[in-house]
Symmetry: C2
Subunit: 185 residues, 2 copies
DNA sequence: ACTTATATGGAAGGCGCATTCCAGATGTCA
DNA sequence: TGACATCTGGAATGCGCCTTCCATATAAGT
């Protein structure tokens, strides 16, 4: 991991900056400016920016760190439970995650940085796999095509998370309604 | 309409600024800066700002102008059709409207200007009335309380509109899924 | 310990935007 | 038409932010 000619303090500071950014991403109403990140990390702004080559790259890395376990968790669920149950559980966790990292969605809309884009695609992929399995099990309607259903799920999960961050009652209701609506008639 | 001491050109320019802002609100990817509005209206920036007392006030008025007919339309639907049918039709129109004025949602999140806030409340009120009627008709489940259901509908409509602006197939699928999910079991 | 390549803090620079200001223009009223 | 209150354009100002820069500090190698 440590590159040649790369000083130890630089590596450590990069890590500190990353942790500070990640922490701020979980704070609602946080400013999320380079200066705020630097202060939280106990570094100068120059150091923070230099470690990643720009604010966007830093945020990209931070978001990737946050998103990666979510995607992995989705894969685990899929392997461990049946498709329908996995989907339901994953939705619950996705919503909770987004609610806990509320700033992510706002801040990064339209950020087409590489890692974030890739992970977003992975997320959609996982949801699509769950839906495919559930369709084969006959518990999800097939009169709406897979891509549309996947898009629906993804966007609705996003919406509900931002609607009332941290209101589990609303999240439950959302999941119930959508899952019921997705069953075959 | 013309106030005393208010010069005719000032009134006309105010109208021009309002129209320019409204037009920009319907243009996806429009800059929506005061300068852009001024240029589109053929006015100087000072004139535009002065006419409303600030950018936010201008946008507030523009959004109110746009939203008012939507709310009225909802009331008409409610009076003309049964609750369920009105709800379905209104959702379709709401989504189309939001898709056509895509910048509104992004630009005005958190804008707590008076007119916009009031109209948003009216919108929710109309949806709540439709749902109340539909519940009484026995076509909407009552195991989820009214407020939650209303919030659900509002946020979901918002989500789908932003998901794929102008993709009627997705919008239809969304409405079908949610309406099916809202039926009593 | 000394040298040198590398890193640091934070001031200065640059940019995009809303707002303010004012010299000049233009509607209004007698 | 003349006098004057009102309005106008757009340059100047202010503000928040990201990025760049460089004099100083510090790790690494010998």
């Amino acid at each position: 991991m440590s590159m040649p000619g790369r000083r130890a303090d630089a590596v450590r500071n990069r890590q500190l900056a990353l942790e500070a950014a990640t922490a701020l991403l979980a704070e609602p109403d946080a400013a999320l400016t380079v200066e705020a990140i630097a202060k939280k990390a106990g570094l100068g702004v120059g150091t923070v920016v230099r470690a990643f080559g720009g604010k966007d790259a830093l945020l990209d890395t931070a978001v990737a760190h946050l998103l990666e376990p979510v995607v992995r968790r989705g894969r685990d669920l899929l392997q461990q439970y049946g498709s329908e149950q996995a989907l339901r559980a994953f939705l619950t966790e996705l919503i909770a995650f987004q609610a806990a990292h509320h700033p992510i969605s706002d801040q990064l809309r339209g950020l087409t940085t590489p890692a974030t884009t890739a992970l977003r695609a992975d997320l959609v992929q996982v949801v699509a796999e769950m839906l495919t399995g559930a369709r084969q099990d006959g518990v999800i309607r097939t009169d709406i095509d897979l891509a549309t259903t996947t898009a629906l799920i993804s966007h609705l999960a996003f919406a509900i998370a931002r609607a009332q961050p941290g209101n589990p009652q609303l999240a439950d209701a959302f999941i119930t309604v959508v899952m019921d609506g997705l069953r075959p008639s």
